[in-house]
């Protein structure tokens, strides 16, 4: 994402900050991305729809005398589905390869483990069923450690005023060797509606660059005493760049009896200047019904500022 940095060094004209400027690295950054295009979902109430999403972010950061990086950020996101509010506030402290983030943080597994690439300008959902138990925990504490090629993340949850924390937690670690990466994680998802027991999920994901293609592989298996048996989801995606054009193919499935594989193919064309045109087509299946899948497709423009 292209970021626009507003440094206090260059831009502060208000009097009285001279003393602070000497050692301050404080800055506020605005960044932005947008997508716009058309989506198709077979048999939906509206089959062909327009979709826009703008994701702008505002972040501030500074550095203490002791060398800790400290910052805060929030998002200004708007989309055709009616999202239009500042949200995702976070505050972080970082030093010595360890970053502690509080607030609307991401999940441990989704922070580091490679997973199935979706297809299209916004995503047609090829990965949704196969990754059903991925990125599902609630958390407001996120600790990340970066140790050379290894990145490890742990997340947990604590009470906020008016809200008892669930006992969700997650741990995940990834090893990135440059030409390949492999990651593993474990999450505990508590207090899910309709379940008496926690869902425990083990996740494996990796990526490898081979023959000019970027290949992602993903597997996870979830279990709870409420389940008749454990449920596994898995899949793979291949991304093949050819100059400005990149072709993508994805497939995902579960071991549920009535679930057919979801699959799709797509392409993205880099127009330069941070702009690309992308689209894809595929088939997704209801994993709980012995039926045929439905066709899904999208096509649109993506841009970064």
């Amino acid at each position: 994402m292209k970021k626009v940095l507003l440094t206090t060094t260059a831009l502060v004209f208000t009097a009285g900050f001279a003393a602070a400027e000497g050692h301050s690295a404080a800055s506020i950054t605005i960044s932005g991305e947008a997508i716009a295009g058309v989506k198709y979902i077979e048999d939906a109430a509206q089959e062909t729809t327009q979709f826009l999403e703008l994701d702008f972010g505002v972040s501030g950061k500074t550095v203490t005398d002791g060398g800790l990086e400290v910052g805060a950020s929030f998002d200004l996101d708007l989309n055709s589905g009616g999202e239009a509010a500042p949200d995702d506030e976070e505050v972080y402290i970082s030093g010595g390869g360890i970053t502690l983030t509080l607030g609307d943080v991401g999940s441990a597994d989704d922070s580091v483990i490679a997973n199935i690439a979706d297809i299209g300008f916004d995503g047609i959902g090829i990965d949704d069923t196969a990754e059903f138990f991925f990125d599902t925990t609630t958390q407001n504490i996120h600790v990340k450690g970066e140790f050379g090629a290894i990145t490890a993340v742990a997340t947990a949850n604590m009470d906020e005023t008016g809200t008892d924390a669930s006992e969700d937690y997650g741990i995940a670690v990834n090893y990135d060797a440059g030409t390949f990466s492999v990651g593993a994680g474990f999450t505990n998802n508590a207090d899910e509606a309709g379940l008496d027991e926690d869902i425990e999920t083990f996740i494996l994901g990796g990526s490898v660059t081979a023959g000019g293609a970027d290949i992602n592989l993903f597997f996870h298996t979830a279990d709870a005493d409420d389940f008749a048996e454990s449920v596994s989801g898995y899949g793979a995606s291949v991304s093949y760049p050819m100059g400005a054009l990149t072709l993508v193919a994805s497939v995902g499935a579960t071991d549920l009896d009535d679930d057919d594989a979801d699959f799709g193919v797509g392409a993205s064309y880099d127009l330069g200047g941070g702009v690309s045109f992308a689209g894809g087509i595929g088939q997704v299946d209801n994993p709980f019904a012995d039926d045929d899948g439905i066709m899904v497709a999208d096509m649109g423009i993506k841009m970064k500022f």
Copy 2:
């Protein structure tokens, strides 16, 4: 509107963007306007009220290698009426004089056709009755073509997830000769509450500079099978600049039997630095009642950043 451009060229200090900088024209802009003052509406529940409105906008744009300009924008608007949310998200692609915009776009007629200038720092509504069928369509697709002195706009509507599109559409064209302009448009307004049939409106508007004055003229006529007969609205406004002071007079009316003309006079004084002081007074009439009009007035400050 004065715009504050944050160019990535000048301000990006984050490492790793050097390669992208060479051909990128990506930037994020923040702009802002504000008004504040006092409004008077005779016989209103609150006759004399304070009114503020802040209209800030955030927009990003970039240029593809092929020379297409691509961008996205949204507004951060707040006013005394309780408006306070990010909204009006749009994404556009522009090249060769043609601009395609998706999202919360404006109507075709209001995009190009000159109409009756309102009076005062925020507007006392002299033009509201006379322009009742102007700028009333729903649309999320907006195509504008600029061909020398001619600008043409077409708008249409497509489904969004959860929302069936109405069959609204509009087309409008304007010819700007410098000393005068003339525009015409047609809109179809479907699915209006209480009506079985679409409202079809034909609009004419123009402006001319003569004797040091800027004069706007407006006419539109709307018909639907539900109407007993077609309804026309029309009006004119004159703006006369004298140094820092500009005087404005406006009049608008319809051909409804019980409607008296709405009219008003106002003044604006340019204080420099993007700041002006403006006010106006006038009379507006309920078009459906055989009564006298009410007095309306406002006075306040306007600024641009």
Copy 3:
């Protein structure tokens, strides 16, 4: 607060503004602060909770040819309590030491009168009971006059569309001699729920620097015909800086029969770069119950960008 000034002079690259640039001082500023930490409230539904708050602000200002400074501002604040919306819109005009502000303005008493410093990174509420009638009026007009060491503020309230103004008003004046300051104010709080008459409050506050410590003193007394007798609240706080470390102690109380004093001690450590670590512990008492107080504490990080 560290401010990031985006001057139009340095940053406007859009064509056509050259003429305006010559005399324009228009600019848009983004500023930001954030806090994050942990709070403890004895016997609360959630005793130990995470709390974050991001307070970002956007403001525009410009200067007229006649030398008046004119501006508008709003806030983008988010916190763990669910606040997440643009709000606090204001427009001001300033010249000759007088500033008129309209919109979501602050109260007269809180604008200038020194009061009891709270304890901790976000505040554990030591001052809440003792200052119960402080900063309680509604207003949308704020006039401030600065005359050397003297600052005076008056606030009042006028109708907005759909909202009848209460008859709240306030006046306050502060004298700042450098080593000490003293302020006084009077507020009228009308239309309070459950009361037939207005609450009239007289406020005194001051600060003095002595022996290396900053001491604040506060007293106010409120009366209404509905009250059996007048109610007074008062307190003091001491802030003692020792290099990067600052110790703070506060005490507050009322003259209600069942109210015990609230008190607390805290510390703040300046980490440099606009970052500090702060915490505190204290006891607060229900003023209407003959009971013991509860323990409150917090600890966290504060930062400015």
